[in-house]
């Protein structure tokens, strides 16, 4: 069953369009991420789903029921806010009980469910503290406990991990995912962090300028980005504009590459890790295209080394990334051969098909 349907929702602030026909579904038990840079409309989408902002057009359905005009306090959603938005004047216990008491549940059931939510988040011993006495990570747990305690149809998470330090973020990310799967909780998860979205989601909707560019599993979105924007966001740093002619793809500055499979495209992309470097005039036999190039820069990243290259004769800039210790180490000024395998070339559309 579909827990949440965002059906063709548009929204403008004044004359500025913010959402342009957003369509996203969240199935029961599924975690769907809205991924995009700041200003892409992901938080606005969440606010429309929660009922904080009215949609200009389109519908929001919760379990098949149209809630587009229903106020937030009658929607079966619960938000985990980016800044947690805990009630500072209430103890942790009363924060978690807040939504249950609003639903007029009997006191015994409230106490029971509060306890269960606290234990679920492993914060039972903090029950009598005030939010101001908790660390950021603990506040985050209280925020999640408060939201899951009401067992919402859809849990809405607005960059819930962005205020935590990197190590804690990875831990809590795994924990949240395990929790979500155990509860079978439908979640709409807003993030700008590509890694976070890839590691936590069942499906990812990549947003750009108020539009959904691509929806798919983490593997689909990462390995088969369909548009220039998605590819760029997923770390495809080498993107060439051009056109397909006679079975070849010819870039605007004259580089010839094998045509990528699947339809006419305006761009071709290749990940830095898929760019192969070899000594001048050599090259791996599987390379579908080879070019001589000059190394213009080298950045040591620990596990890998990044090379900035200039292709001859066009001067096209290319980035390559090699695992540390793999192949030769190059220095700026070295002449190398750059090779691309045909299967690594990604055909990219300029924009999603309307």
């Amino acid at each position: 069953m579909t827990a949440l349907t965002i059906d063709d929702v548009s929204k403008s602030f004044g004359s500025t369009p913010v959402l342009d026909g957003i369509r996203v579904d969240v199935e029961a038990g599924e975690l769907v991420s809205l991924l995009g840079p700041s200003g892409c409309g992901k938080t606005t989408t969440l606010n429309v789903v929660a009922g904080f902002l009215p949609a200009d057009s389109g519908r929001v359905l919760l379990a098949g029921t149209d809630v587009t005009t229903v106020p937030p306090y009658r929607r079966d959603t619960a938000v985990v806010f980016q800044n947690y938005a805990l009630f500072p004047h209430l103890r942790v216990r009363d924060n978690v009980a807040y939504g249950l008491r609003a639903r007029k549940l009997p006191a015994a059931e409230v106490a029971e469910r509060v306890q269960a939510a606290l234990e679920l988040m492993d914060i039972a011993e903090l029950a009598d503290r005030y939010p101001g006495q908790l660390s950021g990570g603990q506040q985050q747990r209280v925020a999640v406990a408060r939201a899951v305690a009401v067992r919402p149809r859809v849990l809405l998470m607005d960059e819930p991990l962005s205020n935590l330090d990197a190590k804690l973020r990875q831990e809590i990310r795994l924990e949240l995912r395990a929790l979500q799967q155990r509860l079978g909780q439908a979640v709409l998860f807003v993030t700008h962090d590509q890694q976070e979205a890839l590691s936590i989601s069942d499906r990812i909707a990549v947003l750009n300028a108020g539009r959904v560019e691509q929806v798919g599993s983490p593997a689909e979105v990462f390995e088969r980005p369909r548009t220039v924007f998605v590819a760029d966001f997923m770390g495809v740093e080498n993107i060439f504009a051009g056109e397909v002619a006679d079975g070849r793809f010819r870039t605007d500055d004259g580089l010839e590459l094998p045509a990528p499979s699947g339809g006419p495209v305006g761009h071709v992309g290749i990940r830095p890790t898929a760019v192969r470097l070899s000594p001048p005039e050599e090259g791996a036999p599987q390379d579908a295209a080879r070019r001589n190039a000059t190394v213009t820069g080298r950045v040591y990243l620990g596990d890998s080394v990044r090379y900035h290259l200039q292709l001859e004769p066009t001067g096209t800039a290319v980035v390559a990334e090699q695992p540390r210790g793999a192949g030769t180490s190059w220095q700026p000024g070295d002449a190398v051969t750059v090779g691309f395998a045909a299967e690594d070339l990604l055909g990219l559309q300029d924009a999603p098909a309307a």
């Binding site: 959603t77 938005a85 009630f87 807040y98 408060r146």
Partner: protein, 271 residues
């Protein structure tokens, strides 16, 4: 952090400058002499015990207290409503309205006093009801001049709260009224107490506007003090001032138990 010595000296000097008049007034209130003379011939509490016989001053103290409490209640309530409306509603002329509420600050109190008097006097003729001088007029005037302060304090408090806690409450199933009662007002308490205290002190010490609006026999303390000082100069005034200082001091001390004033005045009330 250690402060440079000269900075400490400046701090002590400034505080001394501010507190010296207060200390002097308190000192003079226990002089055992009919006139203010230095050094005093001796000390006595007779000016305090005699206060209740000074009907003008003592009545003024009572009236001013009642008026200040009423003003503080009314002004805080109105300031809260204005702040809630202007910070939460989407209004076209919001900036204009917000600044408009601060306008009474720009007008000299004496001008406000004359203006309110003339306006109410004319209105009295039109309605054939006596509006000045009445206690109602006094309350109205004091509320008007304290409203910029109460509005500003509550408005800053609301801005400090942000909208997310209110959204969280709505999201968890409490309607707008319940949210106001269970979340917004409790979190605004420091701002509200601050606004109340400010309005009280302002009204309690207000002289210029009251001069125009008081009725004979119902005189506020500052006006009564001015009238007293026209005829006599003895430590009675110092004694009544000391009572005033103690009253305001107690109010500040009590409200400090609820809030930290520094936080309210800087706008942050979280936590």
């Amino acid at each position: 952090m250690t402060l440079p010595r000269w900075l400490t000296a400046v701090g002590v000097l400034v505080f001394g400058f501010m507190l010296l008049p207060v200390a002097l007034v308190v000192w003079m209130s226990v002089f055992d002499s009919e006139f203010l003379m230095f050094p005093p011939p001796g000390y006595s509490l007779r000016w305090f015990t005699g206060l209740s016989r000074e009907r003008g001053l003592f009545g003024g103290l009572q009236l001013s207290f009642v008026l200040a409490v009423s003003t503080a209640v009314l002004s805080t309530a109105l300031g809260l409503l204005a702040a809630l409306g202007l910070s939460r509603a989407r209004l076209r002329w919001r900036g204009l309205l917000e600044n408009g509420l601060l306008l009474p600050l720009l007008i000299p109190a004496i001008v406000s006093g004359v203006a309110i008097y003339i306006y109410l006097y004319q209105l009295s003729w039109a309605l054939q009801v006596r509006l000045v001088p009445t206690l109602g007029a006094l309350l109205l005037a004091h509320t008007t001049i304290t409203l910029p302060w109460t509005f500003r304090l509550v408005h800053a408090g609301l801005a400090g709260l942000g909208t997310d806690v209110e959204r969280a409450s709505l999201d968890l199933g409490r309607g707008p009224w319940q949210t106001l009662w269970r979340v917004t007002l409790p979190l605004l308490r420091p701002s509200l107490v601050g606004a109340f205290v400010f309005a009280f002190i302002f009204s309690f010490a207000e002289l210029e506007i009251s001069l125009f609006l008081i009725s004979p026999g119902q005189i506020t303390l500052p006006v009564a003090m001015v009238q007293y000082a026209e005829f006599r100069v003895d430590p009675t005034l110092a004694a009544v001032s000391t009572v005033q200082i103690l009253l305001v001091g107690t109010l500040l001390a009590v409200s400090n138990r609820f809030i930290r004033f520094g936080q309210v005045l800087s706008g942050g009330v979280k936590g």
